[in-house]
């Protein structure tokens, strides 16, 4: 008995039936069903993206990125994300500071309202901006008089993307800041540090992994958003087509190599997002929701 580590022994002692036939069969059935389900609905489509993208050889694959419209779509997606993600990060930090550090009335209503874009269909997210700024929308006539365009142009794409990615950073930071508490910030303030100094030197380092995770999720959604952007973009080739919209156009033109080549970039981005998520979780930061 002394030869066995006590924990291993305890495991055997408290798990009667651990090694019965029934248990083994149930166990393998569960694993087989899980893997079969995931293989059919998740792994097969993922593999298809790369198989189709490379179906005419690596040269054709690489060549499809030389297409000026494809290059323009990639540029537009990068530009949109580079504007939307920083803005929503600042919002997320502000919202988390107000909600996690203070007690006030109506807090839970505010949290629900911040989460609202997640519950709204992406099509509705795009439509609200058409209703406001579209040709027959509330401000449509005024905008046309002054030669501004929001819908079917870059500002509309950015507004719609901002709407759908709105809660991502805030959602990660609020529970994390609540969990970490105010003690260190209060100590810093008591010792004479200013508000900004406390934020940059105490709070920001504490929540950095949650912040990174939130920004990465926000970025993935910003670059991949289809429905909301589709409604406001107007689908002008080379001008208002983001990568997901360009995928649709190429696919509908039966240019499958091109469509899946652009898809492969977005799939790699999604994979990178999951890698960052895994790394962040390994640092000990855990989602609480």
């Amino acid at each position: 008995m002394a030869l066995l580590p006590s924990s291993a022994f305890a495991d055997h002692a408290t798990r009667p039936g651990q090694h019965t036939w029934v248990h083994a069969i149930v166990r393998w059935c569960f694993i087989a069903v899980s893997l079969a389900f995931l293989a059919a609905v998740l792994l097969a489509p993922l593999a298809t993206v790369f198989v189709m993208a490379l179906s005419k050889g690596i040269l054709t694959y690489l060549h499809s990125f030389a297409d000026p419209d494809t290059a323009a779509a990639i540029r537009l997606t990068l530009l949109t994300a580079s504007v939307v993600v920083p803005i929503n990060t600042v919002f997320g930090l502000a919202a988390a500071w107000a909600i996690a550090k203070f007690e006030f009335r109506g807090k839970s209503i505010l949290i629900t309202l911040i989460d609202l874009p997640l519950a709204v269909s992406p099509v509705i997210a795009g439509m609200v901006f058409v209703l406001l700024f579209g040709l027959q929308g509330w401000f449509g006539a005024w905008l046309q008089q002054h030669h501004y365009s929001i819908v079917f142009a870059l500002p509309g794409i950015m507004l719609a993307t901002m709407f759908v990615t709105f809660p991502y950073v805030a959602r990660e930071l609020i529970p994390l800041m609540e969990q970490l508490g105010n003690d260190e910030e209060e100590a810093a303030i008591t010792l004479g540090a200013g508000g900004w100094m406390t934020f940059f030197r105490v709070t920001l380092p504490k929540v950095r992994w949650g912040l990174v995770y939130g920004m990465v999720l926000c970025n993935a959604r910003a670059m991949g958003e289809f429905g909301a952007v589709s409604v406001v973009s107007g689908h002008i080739r080379g001008l208002t087509n983001t990568m997901p919209l360009h995928i649709e156009i190429l696919y509908n033109e039966y240019n499958f190599v091109g469509a899946f080549a652009v898809s492969s970039l977005l799939t790699l981005l999604a994979a990178l997002t999951l890698v960052v998520k895994t790394l962040v979780e390994r640092t000990g930061y855990r989602r609480r929701r």
């Binding site: 389900f37 059919a40 919002f91 006030f104 439509m127 507004l159 209060e186 898809s263 981005l269």
Partner: protein, 278 residues
Amino acid sequence: MSFRQPSNLPGFGLTFGFTTVFLSTIVLLPLAALVVTATSLHWSDFWHTVLSARALGSYRLSFGASLLAASINLVFGFIIAWTLVRYEFPGRKLIDALIDMPFALPTAVSGIALTTVFAQNGWIGRYLEPLGIKVAYTWLGVTLALTLISMPFAVRAVQPALLEVQRDLEDAAETLGAGRLYAFRRIILPAIAPALLTGFTLAFARAVGEYGSVIFISGNLPMKTEITPLLIVIHLEQFDYGGAAALGLVMLVISFVMLLTINLLQAWGRRDQVRAAR
């Protein structure tokens, strides 16, 4: 009680002000525009749009397929969560990380990839075709796309609840002579029921509004494979803003009810945990 409790931390005015102003500008005012546009329609026009045969057909597909997808995920989400929590097998960590893939993967990519796999000559579609099962361009394809994109919600809702099930209770039940299924029904199921329901509701809420992945696989035939978000887009493309807003309002009200349900379910789950902790 005053509006906020005293604190020696600075910055409440700045951050609270910025949060509410930004939230109002980007989210609340635009949504208010939708409500105002929809309600400023004449009531007969409103009901004509919202209850037209084509709209009713789209609700049937959108809500029917979402309900089916959420039910499929209720079953498979539980099986996957159980497998990941209870069993050790090679590649478990990789599979665990991949569960979030539909979150991170753009919906347009999921859409064209699923369509290719389940088309008549696709990897899986070619084996279903001789059996008379057509997936791509039917309601089955819509359900499949909705199942894929809402799958992580179901798995991730159940996983933490399964981790918290007290295994000593299970062991005690077995020691006292309870069968495996009896122990499952009386101990595990009650403990994870709120999480299962939350996962189901989250999956359903996400599936109802989904657009990107569905339009590629559905074929988009009016009355048959046309989802409600697509019908909204069609109204918008015809510059029928009022009709689009009316359909949007119907969806918004339903989403809001779902959100409320989720919050109530989570409150129910927390209450159960508190009671268990006592």
